[in-house]
Symmetry: C2
Subunit: 456 residues, 2 copies
Amino acid sequence: MRTLELVDELAAIVGRAHVLTDPDVVAGHVVDWTGHWVGSTCAVVRPADTAETSAVLAACHRAGVAVVPQGGNTGLVGGSVPMRGELVLSTARLDEIERVDPIGRTIAAGAGVTVARAQQAARAHDLDLGVDLASRDSATLGGIVATNAGGIRMIKNGNTRHQVLGLEAVLADGRTVSRWKELTKDNVGYDLPGLLAGSEGTLAVITRVLMRLVVPPRETHVALIGVGTVGVALRLIAEIQRAGITVEAAELMTRAGIHLVRTHCALRPPLAADPAYYLLVEVSGRPETQAALFDVLEDAGPNVLDAAVEQGPAHRLWRYREGHTEAVSAESSTPPVKLDLSTPVREIEPFLSALGEDLAESAPAVRAICFGHLGDGNIHVNLLDVAADDRDAVTDTVLRRVALHDGSISAEHGIGRAKARWIGLGRSDVDLDIMRSIRAALDPARLLNPHILPAK
Amino acid sequence: MRTLELVDELAAIVGRAHVLTDPDVVAGHVVDWTGHWVGSTCAVVRPADTAETSAVLAACHRAGVAVVPQGGNTGLVGGSVPMRGELVLSTARLDEIERVDPIGRTIAAGAGVTVARAQQAARAHDLDLGVDLASRDSATLGGIVATNAGGIRMIKNGNTRHQVLGLEAVLADGRTVSRWKELTKDNVGYDLPGLLAGSEGTLAVITRVLMRLVVPPRETHVALIGVGTVGVALRLIAEIQRAGITVEAAELMTRAGIHLVRTHCALRPPLAADPAYYLLVEVSGRPETQAALFDVLEDAGPNVLDAAVEQGPAHRLWRYREGHTEAVSAESSTPPVKLDLSTPVREIEPFLSALGEDLAESAPAVRAICFGHLGDGNIHVNLLDVAADDRDAVTDTVLRRVALHDGSISAEHGIGRAKARWIGLGRSDVDLDIMRSIRAALDPARLLNPHILPAK
């Protein structure tokens, strides 16, 4: 048996204990956390370092066995699940925090280190990772780089790709490549780390990452602001920034979303008014910032229907935003359809309005709860009460609608398997050809994550 | 004659007036502005739009004629000069500012639009381009993207690559690819705009760019601070940022540099002390910022040897920094050797010190004036009084030294022709192989800027 021989070969590289084949043991590696994507694997292999990763990939390459790299397996698009027996290369043991440099403000760590552990290590030096997201306890640094994760801190720090200074990675044939310099400026050839970021494991397996750290804000203030239109919310953000105030987060919610969260979490109405849109803004800066924020809100006059402001690290107002995910899951009669999209900011309101009409016509029983990162035009569309047979049809409706508004069918989650059939809504044929040719240059046999970015 | 036939074909595409072959007319296109790189061209072609660019490249592809894309031709590494008769594709007529969107904060423009014109267009909407550099009146948007230009605003805004939201570009075979969405988050496949940024015209010809705009600071303050070590300067920057003050620029200069500028520009000593290092910091924020800045400087105690602070748009203190380029050129008995490097910030001082020793030993007659962007670890090494025959040898000394300090042989200028022979100091063999294979995937005949990133 070729697979058995390969398993023996891999055991010789990483140790028998780190080649998992028992169906019970590998079960957690062949399903994503939503339970929607379920596959199978010939083995889960856990190399201890880059050298072992290289040997594992070289062995798979010789055997012609496809490999799915897997970090925390927290993705939402089925990108880290082996679908047809591919070998899973788990980064779980690449878990060393090698160094936090407080002067250069960098962290060097194995790809399997979780976001939460990296944050903790940075915070011990009064610094922080520039990326934060809800799955921080499981999501890994290698995973957030490979998927170019977003999150709520992106309005200030940019996405994960912008935080990456260096990478070590192994190609499909086992060759190791390293860009490992604590430099923000290094114009020597193509931006390989930037190319690997967001490539969803199709070009190389990331084994080590070198990321920039940010100076955390000394004090922050949160305002929950009621507005009648998205346009008013956008102008407010601009006014706040123009007043010299740093915006740490800007989250948009709707009346329907706030109602759902209040019902589920038994929260009081946050504002006396019940506006169409709720804007949650977190700002930072000097101690005078809160007064400056009040000035901006006052200058906005009747456009601000109502506002609540609070100071301090444990912001009560954030609960109205953070409650959305849980409320959506709990209050839907079926597993919610969760789509992560973006549009140009000026298209947010037209998109939401047109989407409402689309759904009223084609799926009147479905409830849509939309919220997102306003500054990035990033909207999380959550569809409740969708019958199992209708999931693809409503997804199709939403993705076609977002394409009509010059938006992206995937803002921060990637394409994975979930959106593979809609990739043509996001990229032209020439663009897809270019991507395939780059992939073919690095992995001609298509052994790395073969189900992502399908061949023509 | 094949070339004559091609010229006729190109004239039919762009109009006879836009295919330049007269030696006097093309003279400015075959030499860089330092006069160091001089080549020759079969013709300079100026397409009016993407469609004409596509037709021109397709014709060159069929004829097997190599093409050098050229914007403002302000590069410092010979990257935009045709060396052996290649056709020059000038972006001069791709000069339309299509749109400034004050809500989405974006600018859409032809690749041939100069940085200064784009800045002007943005400022009409009380916004600004995130990139600024001394060659702004000639450098083009296509050029700064293709070279991933840096500049003094990078500490706040990131480099040019980070400002790019979308691109339209033409491949070597004439195919057009477009990523053109006003989105900061769009995780659909590989980051093609990021890959083209910094590729120095080797992967495609950029014809249109879509860039983000930034909110300019409402008021800024400048401090010139005397310190005894680079470490103190770095800690000061960190303290200023931790105090919630936004740093717009942080420039490091040396005693030798300040002396040279004072001599050449007839300026008074900026500080009573004459410290080893001068740190120029520009900060922005709320009106209280100046007081906050004073607090930080006072808290630093005796580490700050002296400081001058001023407010307002026309900062007198900047003259000490800006005078460097002119002073270096004027005060050197030979054309200065200008090298653009970066090191990890903690290596700046060890590097400068070791470089001084290297040069004292190998080239004692050479004066080195170093200055740069402190936050980025970006150092401009200027070598004065270098004999023509010694240029390569001193360049070799500096580049080998920076490699020993884990630095980059090119921080913001690119590799071009000037540093091609030293590329191995910056990238491993596997890395170079990967870059070559990506290039081969997009331009198998190596027709685009063939002298950049040489074949193995």
